[in-house]
């Protein structure tokens, strides 16, 4: 077992001449809630995209639990245990809430079932479907979405859609959960609720969480360590309080 759950070494990517991210070295211990902050365009989501295989890093590499994942496809990375949510919500909007979560459960080994089994409705199909439905409901209950399970995802209010994205990501049974601005568009009440949920799922599901957020109150409440990015480079890393009081950070944010 490696010391760090996620370790990036000199991770960097450039689009054409633009160096979107350079020399990112991020180390996250198992069980941490780790934050990434920085102004818009600092490269936070780009790092997420590299970690989930959407972009191939041009320099450096990254390890999950000591295993190098660079160059793997998005699906493979998900199977290895990284799940994510999206900055602009990407739910399966024409599906009901519960089916969204069931898609997340799709690759769990206990629900393996060939397409011919489903096509000819063999008994195993019914068993698997029933178990998946129950499992999905259990996950939805954590987020208080069980009541909404038969509604279409696109009919949910914004805050609940964000929660549903987290629930769906959780269904893939990840080791590391990446949350891209989970509190964006939430009111203070919903944000407070989210803090509770993230802590709860971290404890109950034995997760490590890496999140991007602009709401500093949220970040300072929940994150144990931070990486602050600006213009694609790491400005400072360390525990939350120190980072947020660093004059460089404040300068980067307010622009002073």
């Amino acid at each position: 077992m490696a010391e760090y759950l996620l370790e990036t070494q000199d991770l960097g990517i450039s689009f054409g001449g633009l160096k979107a991210v350079q020399h990112a070295n991020i180390k996250i211990r198992k069980g941490q809630i780790y934050g990434m902050v920085g102004p818009n365009g600092a490269g936070k989501t780009t790092i997420f995209n590299m970690l989930t295989g959407v972009y191939l890093p041009t320099t450096g590499t990254f390890f999950l639990d000591g295993e190098e994942l660079k160059g793997k496809t998005q699906e493979q990375i998900n199977h290895k245990g990284i799940a994510r949510t999206f900055q602009n919500i990407r739910l399966f909007s024409n599906m009901s809430v519960i089916r969204n979560v069931m898609v997340g459960l799709h690759n769990q080994p206990q629900y393996k079932c060939g397409f011919l089994t489903s096509m000819f409705r063999l008994p195993k199909h019914f068993k698997v479907e029933k178990a998946m439905r129950q499992h999905a409901r259990d996950i939805l209950k954590v987020f208080g979405l069980d009541e909404e399970r038969n509604n279409l995802a696109c009919n949910l209010p914004y805050g609940q859609q964000r929660k549903l994205e987290i629930a769906r990501a959780l269904a893939t049974n990840p080791k590391l959960l990446l949350l891209d601005e989970p509190a964006a568009g939430m009111n203070p009440q919903e944000t407070a609720d989210l803090v509770r949920i993230v802590k709860k799922i971290r404890d109950e599901f034995d997760l490590t969480v890496l999140l991007i957020e602009h709401d500093m109150k949220f970040v300072s409440t929940i994150c144990e360590e931070l990486t602050v990015l600006n213009f694609g480079t790491v400005l400072i890393q360390g525990d939350t309080a120190t980072c947020l009081n660093d004059p460089e950070v404040i300068k980067a944010y307010i622009g002073g």
Binding site: A83, M119, N150, N151, A183, A184, K217, T242, L244
Partner: protein, 414 residues
Amino acid sequence: MAETMTKKSRFQNGKWKNYISYAVILAFLIILIVINLTKGLGFSDKSTLPRIAFSCMLAVSLNLVVGFLGELSLGHAGFMCVGAYLGCYTANVLRGAGGMPELLVIVISMLVAGIVAAIFGFIIGLPALRLKGDYLAIATLAFGEIVRCIFKNLPFFGGAMGMSTKLYDGNTLFIIAFVTLLFVVFCCQNLINSKHGRAVVAIRDNEIAAKAMGINVTYYKLLIFMIAAFFAGMAGVLYGATIGTIRQETFSYNYSIEILVMVVLGGMGSINGSLIAAAVITWLNITLQSQLSGALAPVKSIVYALILIVIVIFSNAPAMKGFRESINPRNWKRKSPEDAGKIKNDAAQWDRIPTKIHMDDPLSVDTRTTYADSPVPPDVVVKNRDEFYVKPEKPADTAKAADAAASADGKEEK
């Protein structure tokens, strides 16, 4: 008690729709058999019925690709062409060997046709992994034309004259055709209402999210193309048994488009809709053809075209939306706005054609949330920017300083 409750709610959720097609097809088939036994079916009916059946099969299988997977395919007739030629070639060989009952011959040739067509489906599925939207549409169209061109030039398939095969007995062919159709509908519906169907629809709704959820997009795209091709190949054999001579001109891109028309008019992602549309359009086509012959033949395509244009404009034009909703029986009962949100069945939204087929790439639209969207805690009142410079000598006040930073930023954005 609880069990009956779930049964009832399941019924209300619209799952009965999945079974109604079986019931209707079966009832139709039984009525037809009875009529046929009383010698009520004319010769032309006997050739019309199998045609309706294989059109339905084609429409349902294409719906898997277009409606559920969300990829535009204009090469479906190509799969049918492969199936028709190879299936009927197999049938001819089997008949040549002799001693086999006709029913067995046709079943075996359908299987062979399906498998060969599925191999072609795999081949055309490969570009589908790389191409999107119109580019895939033209690639599939090209595939269909290539297949046609090759079969035209292969001497052992009869070349340009076409390949002849034995007509199947008209008294029982329609029964075989409808039973096959039932099998196809059964397979497609079961596949779609399973975890695999969910994965496929997830890919259609949001491919990036589906990949992030670990769905194997490559596998499912190829699988759906192969299954659709398999059923189209089976339809090809029925075509051969109905028509007798297989000619490559039949399978031009026009035929692929005609199948696509059935799928779109029936409602993408609705198997029942495909069945209805395919049956009506095929019947309309055959009827117009038989009624308007000779000098009036062009009127057939004019009438057909006008019906097509009027239906599409009526059912899709944004300007007609109010009128559409006012005549939709679904809306008669549901007047209040809060009820409108509670559409329980996934299919209810599928009259909206899925986003992936939109011609310009929807993924390029980035609806970023801005700072302005993020909440500003109500207790912070912003008066003057200077107040929010945080003095390094006061580290205890982290949270407040950070708040201030965020809200000051929010202000700046505005």
